[in-house]
């Protein structure tokens, strides 16, 4: 029998994005339970025990993050990171469209757990329609007495506001997101201090991804042990894997952490377009190192521990499938252009490094390069590493270095066809 969906429950239950239907299916009982019968610290402990890890990419333990909130400095804020912008990632959008109340309930429970009375949903500007839908749903929650003052007759009050970004990938980085929410350029802050100590408007703040928050109501309702019955020991729970690229059936697949690449790509995704051979896998969107898609890689479980053994990261689990028709010099030209465009310009290694990588790869692409340029590209990418203010600069080198190391023949073939520039 097919396992019922936990996060993409709207695929099992029609009209789940209607408040009445959501409540008929147990909606907001977890929030009520938390506010009326659990201490905030108890909520944090349950989420800690569940082993839930952040689904935005970093995989940081969620309950632990909540426990870092500074209780000597008030007020507190919770911000939902709905800036979903990693190329290959499209899961938060489906949650917010299909199962929005489960996400909002998770945000509300997180707010109670750290005693925040105001929470924000920061959506990328492109999610303009979604933001307006969420505004209407937040108003419905007010009308239903689930948001507002003195909830369920307790002293706890909560309001939620949406805030639209305006087109900047970097705002998915949590401190850049907070800057943007404050009306500034979305540029990352120097850390420490981390947001749970100094966050939004200088106050202690928890930033959680949409998918992370959507897990929370189920954990409160059914318990940490139940949640741990899915996934692996160190990566418990289910995950939405975004499958894209050269597969027959791209889309979101909710599966236990630890499912193999082979199962995702060949069973759920129905294999490679046109019956071609698979060549490489990017597991964390454009920020990924390229995994050589050999038998060992295909049999690797997709969890936070196993993917690093392949010299890559699981990240947001945005699986981009590359087939034999794709040349790696073309591929990294796409990722380099992306990161060069999205570099916020604050730190030199990323701003200058992505700019120069772009020039070199364009030269290779135009047919005006030789093997020295390929080595220069490797050199520039290597020098960016470990020197950037945030992960963006670091990520910009992942595909470049791994492509050059693991698929050198693609570059050798490319420059061999070319006349050296004068």
């Amino acid at each position: 029998m097919k396992r019922p969906y936990l996060l993409l429950r709207h695929r099992d239950i029609p009209d789940l994005n209607d408040l009445t239907v959501y409540r008929q299916n147990g909606g907001f009982e977890a929030f009520r339970k938390a506010v009326t019968s659990l201490q905030p610290q108890e909520v944090v402990e349950i989420v800690k025990a569940s082993g839930l890890r952040g689904r935005g990419g970093a995989g940081f333990p969620t309950g632990l993050k909540w426990s870092f909130i500074d209780n000597k400095n008030w007020p507190h804020y919770v911000v939902a990171n709905a800036d979903e912008s990693e190329p290959g990632t499209f899961k938060d959008r489906e949650i917010m469209e299909g199962n929005p109340f489960q996400f909002l309930e998770g945000l509300m429970i997180a707010s109670y757990a750290v005693q925040a009375n105001v929470a924000y949903v920061y959506l990328r500007g492109e999610f303009w329609q979604l933001a307006h839908q969420l505004d209407r749903r937040i108003q419905q929650l007010h009308n239903a007495g689930l948001l507002g003052d003195r909830l369920f007759g307790t002293d706890y009050s909560l309001r939620i506001f949406t805030h639209l970004g305006a087109g900047a990938y970097i705002c998915g980085e949590e401190t850049a997101l907070l800057e943007s929410l404050e009306g500034k350029l979305g540029q990352p802050r120097l850390r420490p201090p981390f947001p749970p100590a100094v966050g939004l408007f200088g106050k202690p703040t928890i930033v959680n991804n949409v998918e992370t928050l959507a897990n929370v109501p189920l954990i409160i309702e059914r318990g940490a042990d139940w949640y741990r019955s899915f996934g692996t020991e160190k990566s418990p729970g289910v995950k939405i894997f975004c499958l894209s690229g050269r597969v027959n059936r791209p889309g979101n697949y909710e599966l236990p952490l630890g499912t193999t690449f082979r199962e995702l790509i060949f069973e759920h995704g129905k294999g490679i377009l046109g019956g071609k051979q698979i060549k490489a896998i990017m597991a964390a969107g454009a920020s990924s190192a390229l995994i050589v898609a050999d038998e060992r890689a295909l049999d690797t479980p997709m969890d936070y521990e196993s993917v690093p053994a392949l010299g890559a990261q699981l990240g947001s689990a945005s699986i981009i499938v590359i087939d034999e028709t794709v040349s790696m010099d073309w591929l990294i030209r796409k990722t380099i252009h992306f990161f060069q465009h999205e570099s916020c310009g604050k730190c030199t290694p990323c701003r200058e490094g992505t700019y120069w990588m772009k020039h070199i790869i364009d030269r290779i692409h135009r047919g005006q390069a030789n093997q020295n340029d390929v080595e220069l590209l490797y050199d520039v990418a290597s020098q960016i590493r470990g020197k950037c203010l945030c992960a963006l600069g670091e990520f910009s080198t992942e595909a470049v270095l791994s492509a050059l190391e693991r698929f050198p023949q693609d570059f050798a073939a490319r420059v061999a066809q070319q006349e050296p520039a004068l």
Partner: protein, 165 residues
Amino acid sequence: MNHLREKYASEIEATLAKYPPDHKRAAAMPLLYLAQREYGYVTKQALIEISEILDVPPTEIGQLVGFYTLYYDEPGGKYRIQVCTDLPCALRGAEEFLEQLCENLGIQVGETTPDGLITVEKVMCLAGCDRAPLFQVQTAEGITYHENQSVESAMKLVRTWQSNP
């Protein structure tokens, strides 16, 4: 006189109410969207008006327009067709789609049709990689998504705009 403040007093008040009173600057991005709705793009006058409403220097509002891609400091087509050609979409034919769309419209990427109706732009990932080719349409009013597109379906949409400009 401050046109935005006069015309949209209650909307501006509601926006400011979302943020702490001593952090009015947080309303800068929503107000830039408001300005774009009113003027079609962010005019110099709009920067001054927002700066007065928020008590922030106009240059600090102006830099947001340069940093964020959905704000414009010059007019464009009434409809901005923004096609994603990032890696996952490019693996599913988005670059060819964009090229053919431009051919059909008789313009290059970044240009506006002579009637001022349509601008075509190439944008970064729109979080719809499983439904490529896709684009969003940005107008002064807002943004809508159009997924699983073909040149035929896109041109059909264009014709509805042309017949009802």
